[in-house]
């Protein structure tokens, strides 16, 4: 079922004239979804912005093929994962993962600590594990939706999430044990 906002958006794109202003509103609606997901998948803001730009350009070109808002969200997750995968292949190898030992503060974890722990733990995962855990645990998609977005089977996604959680738990326990 199409929402009124989405129908208005499709109509605006059909008119072609002045549709950029309408598309700007569309981007505002989905920018957090795209940028935050890309940020967790790629690990840095600059690459995430590049990926977001590519995702929204693809959305503009394919908007008329998407019928409902649910389709738009699922499509955005899938394309974001694909674009980030392409960015991973293109970019140079990153620096070695920073060890948790390097963190020396002794206060309870604040927002910055949590963000740091999140980034470091995600960097320990393989690309597929990271995509699965970001969509499932951080974005809150169902396993079925994650499988659809990744083009995998649900059993595969469950396995990837299980392995990812094990690795992250091990890392985070070590990380916060050092902290406390």
């Amino acid at each position: 079922m199409k929402t009124l906002a989405l129908e208005a958006m499709f109509d605006a794109v059909d008119r072609r004239a002045g549709d950029l202003a309408s598309f700007d509103q569309t981007m505002r609606q989905y920018e957090r979804l795209v940028l935050a997901t890309a940020l967790r998948l790629l690990g840095n803001l600059e690459d995430a912005q590049d990926a977001s730009q590519e995702v929204f350009l693809r959305l503009y070109r394919n908007l008329r093929k998407l019928e409902t808002e649910d389709h738009v969200r699922a499509w955005l997750y899938r394309v974001t994962v694909n674009v980030c995968h392409d960015a991973h292949r293109r970019r140079k190898p990153t620096a070695p993962v920073e060890e948790a030992d390097a963190v020396a503060a002794a206060d309870p974890p604040d927002a910055e600590d949590r963000r740091r722990a999140l980034m470091l733990s995600l960097r320990r995962l393989s690309e597929k594990e990271r995509a699965a855990v970001v969509l499932r645990d951080l974005e809150g998609l169902s396993t079925e939706e994650v499988a659809r977005a990744l083009g995998s089977r649900e059993a595969t996604v469950r396995s990837q999430i299980s392995q990812a959680r094990a690795k992250m738990r091990e890392f985070l326990e070590r990380y916060f044990r050092r902290r406390l």
């Binding site: 950029l20 598309f23 700007d24 981007m27 505002r28 920018e31 957090r32 940028l35 935050a36 940020l39 967790r40 803001l45 912005q49 977001s52 730009q53 929204f56 350009l57 503009y60 974890p109 927002a111 949590r114 963000r115 722990a117 999140l118 733990s121 970001v134 645990d137 951080l138 974005e139 809150g140 959680r165 992250m168 738990r169 985070l172 326990e173 916060f176």
Partner: protein
């Protein structure tokens, strides 16, 4: 810290707001890129239309103004009828033609387009005081084949 706790911890970290300036930067880049993509489309349409119009006009001009070359009228091939040359018993280097039977040229008249310069020269020759009429220079070439004799006639 159990699994639910740290998953919730990570979810909180993930849910922390990103600076709106970063979103705005992405939107600006997307809109600028879309704007760039649309302008060249119109410009190329113009160029293609103009090129097509020029090509059509050029073809029309070529068809209407350039005269088609007239087909060349070709007469029947010239056939020479005459006695075959006889070879004397003497030294092999000389050819002796048969009795004075002239070679008869049976020829279909071929319309010859004379160049203006040749026409002017012919007119000048016909006038009093014009150039005297000169006999053509005939050069006879003997070949190894006794049946082939080449005549070169120059003006």
């Amino acid at each position: 810290m159990n699994e639910e706790d740290w998953v919730e911890l990570l979810r909180e970290a993930h849910g922390e707001p990103i600076d709106p300036a970063h979103y705005a930067a992405v939107r600006a880049r997307v809109l600028a890129e879309l704007g760039r993509e649309r302008r060249p489309l119109w410009r190329w349409t113009w160029v293609r239309g103009l090129a097509a119009a020029v090509a059509v006009v050029a073809v029309m001009v070529a068809v209407t103004l350039i005269p088609r070359p007239k087909p060349v009228e070709r007469g029947a091939p010239t056939a020479f009828v005459g006695p075959a040359p006889t070879v004397s018993v003497g030294p092999p280097a000389f050819l002796v033609y048969g009795p004075a039977t002239p070679m008869i040229a049976v020829r279909t008249p071929i319309p010859v387009r004379r160049r203006p310069r040749a026409l002017a020269q012919a007119r000048q020759e016909g006038r009093p005081g014009g150039l005297p009429h000169q006999e053509p220079v005939v050069i006879k070439l003997l070949t190894d084949d006794p049946n082939v004799v080449i005549y070169w006639i120059g003006a």
